[in-house]
């Protein structure tokens, strides 16, 4: 259970980090919280020539408001997200899901950027970033680019990041006020069997708009149930409509069978959890209060 040898690099700037990633051409990785990378190295699921430790780089662990947008540095830790009033106010869904990620020790270390780069198909962070329509800013020696979360998440543990790229920012647009999140676990703190995040805006007439329904654990990446959301646009989320949308969500899933559950079980869970999440969205429609 020991990692293979590697070179440890602690760069003094993002530029230097990018330079090392470029030089190593895929044989180096960023070390952020280490809560996925270190176990993978120690289980020898991965072997690297170098780790680029970004934990001491200044300014990467900040969250700031920029007009309607909320911008996260890649190194913002789960424990910070859990406690920050700015997140409670602007992105309550993101704050709410944190309690479902690992345990307090994991949350003291794990980072938003690491979780996105890890792209676990059950990950609460990728799931809520998809529901909240985040944009990932990636930098390399040749410049920076913005990647929409839906393009960023490619498949299991695979993102659109090139080997020489590092996530430098995660940007969230103004989020709809209302949200609901549900997760099915085998045991406390375990990775999810299935999880669902929904967000939406409730108009003064009671009609819902800007609905987004994100599903985790149901495919090789977290997915959006686009048609289900479209079906509910403008409705008051009455039972029939919800039931129909929940059933329709089966069209976007391709669930795996693994140690946490069978594909059949997940297919059973999805309509149930989508229906419950949407009912919850409708019934506790007060904005989240931290």
């Amino acid at each position: 259970m020991k990692s293979a040898p590697f070179t440890y690099v602690r760069p003094a700037s993002v530029e230097e980090a990018l330079h090392v990633l470029d030089e190593q051409a895929g044989a180096a990785r960023i070390l952020a919280g280490g809560q996925s990378l270190v176990p993978m190295l120690q289980m020898r699921l991965m072997q690297l020539d170098a780790l680029v430790d970004i934990n001491r780089l200044p300014g990467l662990d900040e969250v700031r408001a920029a007009g309607a947008e909320t911008i996260f540095g890649p190194l913002v830790r789960y424990a910070t997200i859990e406690r920050l009033p700015l997140v409670a106010e602007r992105l309550p869904l993101l704050q709410c899901v944190m309690r479902f990620v690992g345990d307090p020790q994991i949350r003291n270390r794990g980072t938003i950027g690491g979780s996105l780069a890890q792209a676990d198909p059950t990950g609460e962070v990728p799931l809520s970033c998809l529901a909240l329509d985040a944009t990932i800013v990636a930098a390399s020696v040749s410049g920076t680019r913005e990647i929409l979360i839906d393009d960023f998440l490619v498949s299991s543990y695979t993102t659109a990041l090139e080997p020489g790229e590092m996530i430098t920012e995660i940007r969230f647009p103004l989020a709809p006020h209302h949200f609901a999140f549900l997760e099915r676990n085998r045991k406390h703190n375990d990775f999810a069997v299935v999880n669902v995040a929904v967000v939406g805006r409730r108009g003064s007439d009671g009609g819902w708009s800007d609905l987004r329904i994100a599903l985790g654990g149901v495919s090789d990446r977290v997915v959006l149930a686009v048609e289900s959301a479209a079906l509910l646009e403008g409705t008051t989320l009455e039972e029939d409509a919800i039931a129909q949308a929940a059933q329709l969500a089966l069209d976007v899933i391709d669930p795996p069978t693994d140690v946490r559950g069978t594909a059949e079980y997940r297919r059973h869970l999805v309509p149930v959890y989508v229906r419950r999440a949407l009912s919850k969205l409708r019934d506790d429609h007060e904005p989240f209060d931290a």
Binding site: M1, F6, D53, A79, Q105, R109
Partner: protein
């Protein structure tokens, strides 16, 4: 010769300078380099929490952090607790029969020490969540919760744990 990096880590108030392989994790550093074997290793993949220590006051699993990362930081281990007598937190564990084989106990003690150091008094349910990062296969957890609760209740003012 494998590559080595120099680290200076303050452990329980004492500075230690060593040359270590980058792949050496903090739990091995504490045990093998410093002989502080109170920090136990269970799974080496971050699940069991037996290796929990404080790094700059925060509870972390020391198997998921390389010693090189702790360079210049303050580490607090279970050895910081007892002096001549058991620390009141340890005494509370003893009184409540919060351990049987004792293997996980250092992990629970340090997870609890982090809560105490922050001066928090979580409810029973919150405490269950707070301590959920450490696994015990003997006690069924109830006595651990009782011990930590009693300790947090009894000790009144915040006392700093370790250095």
């Amino acid at each position: 010769m494998p590559e080595r990096v120099e680290v200076t880590i303050s452990v329980n108030g004492r500075k230690h300078r060593r040359q270590v392989e980058p792949r050496m994790h903090l739990a091995d550093f504490l045990r093998h380099e410093l002989g502080l074997t109170g920090t136990h290793i269970g799974c080496e993949q971050g699940v069991c929490g037996n290796c929990t220590v404080l790094v700059d006051g925060q509870a972390v699993k020391s198997c998921l952090m390389f010693a090189a990362q702790a360079d210049g930081q303050r580490v607090t281990t279970v050895e910081s607790l007892a002096e001549e007598e058991l620390h009141p937190l340890q005494q509370a564990f003893k009184d409540a029969h919060a351990l049987q084989c004792g293997y996980c106990t250092p992990g629970f003690l340090m997870a609890a020490a982090a809560i105490a150091a922050e001066g928090r008094r979580p409810s029973r349910e919150e405490l269950r969540e707070e301590l959920s990062g450490v696994i015990c296969r003997c006690t069924g957890y109830e006595n651990i919760l009782i011990a930590v609760e009693r300790y947090l209740e009894d000790r009144g003012e915040v006392e700093a744990v370790g250095g």
